[in-house]
Assembly symmetry: C2
Homo-oligomer: 703 residues x 2
């Protein structure tokens, strides 16, 4: 059930609501997450708050409560239309007492009016008597048992019921207002049950065989992130008074979705399964994309589950962002602004670690401070703890953010943003990298020691190739960018030179690090993932099959550190990001070396999509397609058995990249773009659009 709740999540970039059923079941894991509403609480780190639940709607047939866990379910069908975000369920149900009816539930979070939520229930009874609806707003929600909100106020105005709650620590206020009305059917009675923190509207109507009854539940929501706290309730009520009715709202929502898909769809012909999976992944990105908010990012599980507590990782910049940069750059800019807003927090983190410049948090929530848990209970023994090191030493994220800012600018040509914000991100992360480099006098080189690379099965490693090379890239790009800025916007360049203390001596040191940082490519061309990796115990993935756990679970944390099995192809990711810096045969030998050592099935969900692109490049179409499937179908079919925790949002973005940069072989350079037709067998046509420097480009490939 929890897997289905995740994949049937609806949303509109303002909030998402997991696909639990309106009538509720014991053990269900409902959640409504609103972007940016975080809270801390007893014994848990900052996490995205499970806000009050706007779904509850229970139905009684002559007093018998509708529920598919009793009575007879004669038919059941649930459909999520990824085209317009409409979730529909049709059930033919007979109560234990023999009352039968056809139920249709529809719901959507309007993409046109992001504060408006709609739920409609049609019932066609086959009996005479009464139907009773109980529609509630439920302020009693929790994050897997942890309560983050408390009741502030509620009330009723002109038949509209509202509820006002507040988060416990961060004091963010959230108000919901609800209107409940039947549009057909003879209403027998109606009452507001003003129970505290769970106001309910009860409507009783006459049931006649064959006569459809339709009930609408319209909900509006605002938080004190949107308007001042003292206006949250009044704004919510006012908005509900002016909200579109069902038919019009459906229409407006469909238009907004049409706009969203207009430039972002990827049309695949000849492989319905792939078409459906790709659109499902893009749907998940659409519902979480912050269209109107530059203070939030997208968490590793989007807003579709409790996993990773809503925290943002490099997943946002490296895996999801390209989709937005290429199809909806305003959203990409919002996501980058989130990082820009947290430069001060990144500077504080660098300083706390004895460094200069900006070191971004590995896990980031509302303030940009590091929110990676330091210790977590050992699943095998709750009384023991496991130390999580990523927040301390998985430092590559600072280069990833710089990379994303630079890439956004290259693809969009958004000089205004770049001059105002992007350049500062690149310069200040470069400053961090220069200060974090360690001089090895014996070998006359700079090193980055005691780090974790993208492959987290190996921690406390030295000279991780991905980290070292991305640091070098960050420093070089900073120097290039400063030259550019001096030419394009000398006043801003001056300002940044002063603010960031970019003295000639400092820039000379950057140059020194660039030249002497340890980024070896041996004669074999196989880039060693980190110093000593090649001396670890060899592992051949095929020999470990069949398995349904990761190789880290198989070998244990220490055992994994001693073996070559990797969580994701660290080096291949580097080659992918800095593709133009590596010759084709380097890519080929590294693919051949690392692919058999990668735990693609139960390792990181980030890897397969990117690895699929490299597989395309090195001419391994079957492997590419298998890897693509691992990414694209990961959540739909719960391949990793943890979709209950939420969507693998990075994998959604990587799926798009696999299609566009892998199967279509799109390459964009300063002078233009090219494609390479690598359509998987069976695909008869692939068509998509993307924006390049503000201009819409169309790609169409046929078999």
């Amino acid at each position: 059930m929890h897997h289905q709740e995740t994949i049937f999540t609806i949303g509109n970039g303002y909030l998402c609501t997991r696909g639990t059923f309106e009538e509720g079941y014991p053990g269900d894991r409902g959640a409504t997450f609103i972007h940016g509403v975080f809270d801390a609480a007893r014994n848990v780190n900052t996490e995205i708050v499970n806000e009050p639940d706007w779904l509850p709607l229970t139905v009684y047939l002559n007093g018998e409560r509708f529920g598919i866990n009793h009575g007879v379910v004669a038919s059941y069908r649930r459909t999520l239309s990824v085209r317009d975000g409409l979730l529909t369920r049709t059930v033919v149900w007979q109560s234990p007492g023999g009352h039968r009816a056809t139920f249709t539930f529809e719901r959507f979070a309007s993409l046109a009016d992001p504060h408006a939520l709609y739920l409609r229930c049609h019932i066609v009874p086959e009996f005479s008597g009464t139907l009773e609806f109980r529609a509630s707003l439920n302020g009693h929600t929790d994050n897997l048992g942890v309560v983050h909100t408390y009741w502030v106020d509620q009330g009723e105005r002109d038949g509209v019921v509202y509820l006002d709650n507040r988060t416990r620590e961060t004091k963010i206020e959230t108000a919901y207002a609800m209107r409940v009305q039947t549009t057909t059917g003879h209403q027998l009675s109606r009452a507001v049950w003003a129970v505290e923190n769970k106001p309910c509207v009860m409507v009783r109507v006459q049931a006649r065989p064959g006569n459809e009854i339709v009930l609408d539940k319209q909900v509006v929501v605002y938080t004190s992130r949107d308007v001042p706290a003292e206006q949250v309730v009044s704004t919510t009520l006012e908005h509900l008074n002016n909200v579109a009715a069902w038919d019009q709202a459906v229409e407006k929502n469909a238009e907004a979705w049409e706009d969203a898909w207009e430039n972002s769809d990827a049309v695949i012909e000849g492989d319905d399964e792939a078409q459906r999976a790709v659109r499902f992944n893009l749907y998940q990105l659409h519902i979480v994309a912050p269209r109107r908010d530059d203070r939030v990012s997208i968490g590793a599980k989007a807003l579709s589950g409790f996993g990773y507590r809503g925290h943002a990782f490099w997943d946002a910049e490296i895996f999801m962002l390209p989709f937005f940069t290429h199809t909806a750059p305003a959203i990409a800019r919002n996501l980058l602004d989130y990082r820009y807003r947290h430069l001060e927090a990144a500077r504080a983190k660098a300083k706390a670690n004895g460094c200069e410049g900006a070191q971004f948090a590995w896990e980031s929530a509302d303030t940009g401070e590091e929110v990676t848990p330091t210790w977590i209970p050992d699943p095998a023994d709750r009384r023991r703890l496991i130390r999580i090191w990523t927040g301390d030493i998985e430092i590559h994220i600072s280069a990833d953010i710089a990379y994303a800012a630079h890439h956004y600018w290259r693809m969009t040509g958004d000089d205004t943003w770049y001059i105002e914000k992007g350049v500062e991100l690149i310069l200040d992360t470069a400053k961090f990298w220069a200060s974090r480099a360690e001089w090895d006098a014996e070998n006359q080189r700079y090193e980055y020691n005691d780090v974790i690379g993208p492959d987290e099965y190996h921690d406390h490693v030295n000279n991780n190739a991905y980290t070292n090379r991305m640091a070098q890239w960050n420093l070089q790009t900073a120097l290039d960018v400063l030259d550019w800025l001096n030419a394009e916007a000398p006043a801003r360049a001056n300002e940044l030179v002063n603010e960031l203390d970019l003295t000639p001596a400092r820039l000379a040191q950057w140059q020194d690090v660039i030249q002497k940082v340890y980024v070896p490519i041996p004669p074999s061309g196989v880039i060693e993932q980190f110093e000593g990796y090649c001396n670890l115990k060899p592992v051949y993935m095929a020999a470990l099959e069949p398995r349904d756990i990761s190789t880290q679970q198989l070998f244990g944390i220490e055992g994994s550190n001693q073996r070559q099995a990797i969580k994701q192809p660290d080096v291949l990711m580097l080659l992918y990001l800095l593709r133009e810096h590596y010759a084709d045969d380097i890519v080929r030998v590294n693919y051949d070396f690392y692919a058999p050592r990668t735990d693609s099935t139960y390792g990181s969900s980030l890897g397969p999509g990117i690895q699929a692109i490299i597989a395309c490049e090195v001419g391994k179409p079957d492997e590419a397609y298998k890897l693509f499937q691992l990414a694209a179908e990961s959540d739909l079919y719960d391949l990793r058995r943890n979709a209950s925790d939420g969507i693998h949002a990075a994998s959604c973005g990587a799926t798009w990249q696999a299609v566009v940069f892998g199967f279509a072989g799109l390459r964009i350079t300063e002078t233009g773009w090219t494609v390479a037709n690598r359509l998987p067998s069976g695909w008869t046509r692939l068509a998509f659009k993307f924006l390049h420097r503000g201009k819409l480009q169309r790609v169409e490939l046929t078999a």
Copy 2:
């Protein structure tokens, strides 16, 4: 507010309910704890569950919600009658709209019928119009933000509303049933608002100036600890149908309380403050005493707050138990049976630590397993953790439990219980002590190293005097008890010898440990609290005043380990427990040595009551009285600033001991008992009763 909620807790030995207000306020910390209902949940250890709330009652005056945080509070008075457990509040309140009324709320948990809870509200309006009552059962409760229960079912039968919830991990079912009725006043309307997990009865009555309206809310509660899970709801409903009405219930409750006080009261004349404080402390023990349940103990905070999660410590046996042993031995036996039931868990703990016999958990909940947290977040920096060692090495509790069992038997002469259960507790803990002793070949002695004594400011100490001497006592008592059992019940003796493998060789080894365990008394008579204590940095408490934090907070954990400041007088506690083994001058020199080193104000709340007794013995009446006040008034006046977490239940028991064994100097030996009149100045009379071998004894002292 949280302090008042604690001290206005009501209860009946089956459950306790904190003294929150019926109408609820943001940030209040309401709780109803039912003995034995524990649960584990996300990131927290096993804790006593905050069960559904039976208190909610909101009142509307012509639509305006009653609440003392708005409008005008013309008068307010709250009274807890410790004589019969009736909590009363009278408020004269005027609404913002000018409607005025006098409210009286009364509530009690019946001591005569422990499943029955009563709440009555009288209102005398000074206006005409309507009064609306909303009386709920609220299943949405949490333990400081952690939810432990989920909704199972609810319904309505003949005007009675019920609610059925279940704990998340331990699957204990709790059902409440509620009847709401007005006994005077003209009822205008009535409705049941069947909102899920929060059913509410709404009653609207006509308000006329001067006409009193009385509303009764009767609640019955059962759990699946009381009856099989499938009968919880029906039993609850049936019981509510037969429950006594208010007047009769008040009367029966008063009778039950009269019985409870009959043998347990301590009458103090000439010092009303002391009288009130002592009775308050005894009240707190009465409301938590498990009269009908031998599967539970009493937690460090009784059932009055979230502190220590409802876990039982040595507080139960050494500080609270004597009150029950001497005034209500059946309750003492229940508490000891709780330990007997957990012998297997204690054996498992000993085994896990490479020992034999029974090692009791330092913190114990529903299963007897160790539930001491191993790591807790550092209050100064949530991202860091502090290791809690008490669960690993505060081993003296096993001797404390043996001591309590032996003391219970000596005082009650309950041979039946002793033969069946008590002796086994003593023998199996002795077996633990013999196996835990380490032989020091160099010094030719047995040692107990790496322990924590009662004074927890010093951890990982060697040869703690309290631990070593109590271990020796436990072993010696075991040998004595086995002799006694061989004579009195040879079959049972044989059985235990076989079951516990008490071979002659083992008993000889016990004798060896008794003779050679390191329990030195130097020529000065000052028993060193542990090896090396006297070499620590000296601390003079007076020089640290004024302070409002403990010396451990002042010096830090490591700083405290290096200093002589102690949390409680470890050595004095030993002298108190084994008083007949020490000469008077030993007691005197140790009092003089340790009293000035003890953090009596913000150290352990366990110490002052016991130290007061020793102060009485060594002729320091003023010091004794001050220490007595620290114990007796600790919660009433929130002297330690943490009564919000719950009552200091050990201090309640220590208060009784201070009165009886300190000021009255009661000593009970095999041949009889004696008193010594040490009444504090101002006390004109002290009278109390106690049971000795089943016979009621009366003590009366006058100034």
